[in-house]
């Protein structure tokens, strides 16, 4: 037990002191902080002092066609501030106001015979510039209302012309999926990379010990179990700490730099509960252990550093199959295949936390998934330690896994 602690301590110290680890962590954190500040940075570049200030649109109704009803535009909350004038303002005067930054754009309302003509003036036009749909709807609606009101209809007749239609959506399945599936799939991707890259470190560390020939001194100092398990725990703890720092930084940045309405429209923060956190950490640990043990197995069979890629390819395939099984079935989270992916040990770590997050995981499914994953880890760990013990001192040619088992 003491040896295990010593191996864990050494592994942690060795990892966190590496320049590559420190630099990559700092870069990831900077990217996160920068990423969440992109809207603010863009606003700063465009010179807006107050991102909350609404764009000002000058509405010129020289002939008073709307008969003063356009003032109501400001009460519709379209995201613009309207200044309605009935004076005759020339195009050049509008151009001057746009260039001075007094207004963002202008709407000129004219009447051509019986047709209403609306000119939308902006500073510069690209093929993507369009008249905002809600603005044109509002102008249409205001004009219709004005004309209808002149017909002398009763209130009931008016109400029947503008029915208050309420749209709702319902599903036939009993389970309700919460949250934005795209965002959840993205989070699944983050968890996959966290597990995959931490596990890969185990393989790389074991191969380094073998190829630098330190392993002979090491295996005479402690047992292969202590080496493999200690190294896996050490790297896992560092990876978990790194993941927590990254997630915490992302959450703090999301809360600090993103408007609450925008944030809530993307991710329902009420879904992030302590129990979800515990389940995600548990799946990270178990998923990491599964893949770390597989990587320890392949890492111990490598004799030369250049062979590490090819030796690790089978594990990479297993991981990618597991991830995609989870990722694509998440598009239809209530399907049987997604339930399978949440229990199958190679995909469950990337799948189950998000079924829990979406509120569709049954407690029995979670328990079965945990049991299957833990049993898988026990089997893989025993197999890995057996193969590691036989393979780690072999520097000869390529030997098949089966031969290492029977050595």
């Amino acid at each position: 037990m003491n040896d295990l602690k010593v191996v864990i301590g050494f592994t942690i110290k060795d990892m966190v002191q590496r320049k590559s680890f420190i630099i990559s962590t700092v870069i990831i954190l900077l990217f996160i902080i920068l990423g969440f500040n992109i809207p603010n940075i863009m606003n700063a570049i465009s010179g807006e002092e107050n991102s909350n200030s609404k764009e000002k649109i000058l509405v010129v109704d020289t002939n008073n066609i709307y008969e003063g009803t356009l003032d109501e535009l400001n009460s519709l909350d379209l995201g613009y501030e309207f200044e309605v004038v009935t004076d005759n303002i020339e195009f050049n005067e509008i151009k001057q106001k746009i260039e001075n930054g007094e207004i963002e754009s202008s709407i000129i309302i004219e009447k051509n015979d019986s047709n209403l003509k609306i000119r939308y003036i902006v500073e510069s036009m690209t093929s993507y510039t369009q008249i905002p749909e809600d603005l044109s709807n509002a102008l249409n609606s205001a004009y219709s209302s004005l004309q209808i009101s002149k017909l002398g209809l009763t209130q009931e007749q008016l109400n029947s012309l503008n029915p208050n239609i309420e749209f709702t959506m319902e599903q036939t399945e009993e389970e309700e999926v919460k949250g934005n599936v795209i965002i959840i799939m993205l989070l699944s991707l983050v968890l996959f990379y966290a597990i995959y890259f931490c596990a890969y470190q185990v393989s790389s560390s074991i191969t380094t010990e073998k190829t630098s020939r330190i392993i002979e001194t090491l295996v005479t100092s402690t047992s292969p179990t202590n080496i493999v398990v200690g190294k896996t725990i050490g790297i896992g703890l560092v990876g978990l700490a790194q993941l927590c720092i990254i997630v915490l930084t992302a959450l703090i940045c999301a809360k600090s730099f993103i408007e609450p309405e925008i944030l809530n429209s993307v991710l329902d923060m009420s879904m992030i509960t302590p129990s979800l956190g515990i389940i995600t950490i548990a799946y990270f640990i178990l998923g990491y252990f599964t893949y770390a043990m597989l990587y320890a197995l392949t890492g111990s069979t490598v004799s030369k550093p250049e062979d590490i890629q090819s030796a690790n390819t089978p594990v990479a395939f297993v991981a990618i199959i597991g991830f995609y099984l989870s990722y694509f079935t998440m598009m239809n989270p209530t399907s049987n295949l997604n339930v399978f992916a949440s229990i199958f040990p190679i995909s469950s770590p990337f799948c189950m936390p998000f079924r829990v997050m979406m509120g569709i995981a049954e407690p029995s499914e979670i328990i079965i998934s945990f049991i299957v994953l833990i049993l898988t880890i026990i089997v893989i760990t025993k197999l890995t330690i057996k193969i590691y013990s036989n393979a780690i001192l072999n520097y000869g040619g390529k030997i098949k896994i089966r031969e290492f088992l029977h050595k």
């Binding site: 040896d3 050494f10 060795d14 630098s212 020939r213 002979e216 001194t217 295996v219 047992s223 001192l393």
Partner: protein, 296 residues
């Protein structure tokens, strides 16, 4: 008591790596393990250390089965290895702690040994910045830092310059004085002759010669005569039907079958009043014995 190997064998597939070898080391000192490359020395060492399972036979230390927990041993492998990116001090502490030492004891011992081995200035450097010789000294420190009873040194002097070889030799002499059991494998026969009381020579996994080094050498007849004179003596040598192996400036190395023929030559030289500066009858060196036993 001490270390006993009885009828130990190991096969790798169809290849017999070690074939029925027996070694008894019943008193402190240095035991020489000799053999050509691939003779089975490293496999024997690994079996003693328990990192390779033996197929048959018995290995005991003080009557008990050899296990990592039951034997306090130190091991310097033939393959030099250090953690390249880790500070020397950190890796020394790591191995000392794995051997059960407290951090404080390990720290004191590191200071003491690094002074003796002249590596103090490198303790806070990553190992990859050290020369090969210094890396080897660091690895030697890991093998003896925990004051082991049994020390196994696989080629301890290979790659060391004369100054460092001398430093290491002095430490090994100290270890012998402290009553340690040391098994040493080396290719430099002179080193083995200097340190070892007993030896075993392996060839293709089999024991070809074993025993006390002095007894082994005594069992061989004299086979070489070294004579240095002030004049040429080729005629006198050929008159006695002897073969000259080498002659540089009248320093002769002559092949002989027995000591009597050497004395005859000495008498002839004295009779002819030839000035003799050196006359030495030599028994075979360990190198000669080794080549005789394992040479193809």
């Amino acid at each position: 008591m001490g270390l006993v190997l009885k009828g130990v064998s190991k096969n790798f597939g169809s290849k017999k790596a070690v074939d029925n070898i027996s070694i008894t080391m019943d008193k402190p000192g240095v035991y020489g393990l000799l053999g050509t490359n691939g003779a089975g020395k490293t496999t024997t060492i690994r079996m003693i250390l328990g990192i390779v399972e033996k197929d048959t036979g018995e290995i005991t230390w003080n009557g008990k089965k050899v296990e990592r927990k039951s034997v306090n041993f130190g091991y310097l492998p033939e393959e030099r290895g250090v953690y390249p990116k880790t500070k020397v001090y950190d890796q020394l502490i790591y191995f000392a702690r794995l051997k059960g030492m407290s951090r404080q004891d390990a720290d004191e011992k590191i200071k003491e040994l690094s002074k003796e081995l002249k590596v103090e200035e490198y303790l806070n450097m990553p190992a990859e910045k050290l020369s090969k010789g210094n890396q080897q000294k660091v690895q030697f420190m890991t093998s003896i830092i925990h004051n082991p009873d049994l020390v196994i040194l696989d080629e301890p002097f290979s790659g060391l310059d004369p100054v460092n070889t001398e430093i290491l030799k002095n430490i090994i002499i100290d270890l012998v004085k402290q009553g340690k059991y040391i098994i040493m494998s080396a290719h430099q026969m002179a080193t083995i002759e200097e340190f070892c009381s007993d030896i075993v020579i392996l060839n293709r996994g089999k024991t070809v010669l074993q025993g006390n080094l002095k007894d082994i050498k005594n069992s061989y007849k004299a086979n070489r005569l070294l004579v240095s004179t002030n004049t040429k003596i080729d005629d006198m040598i050929s008159d006695l039907n002897l073969t000259i192996e080498n002659n540089v400036d009248n320093k002769y190395t002559i092949k002989i079958d027995n000591e009597d023929i050497a004395r005859k030559l000495l008498n002839t030289l004295v009779e002819k009043q030839i000035e003799i500066t050196k006359f030495e009858i030599q028994k075979p060196t360990l190198n000669d014995i080794f080549i005789e036993k394992v040479g193809e």
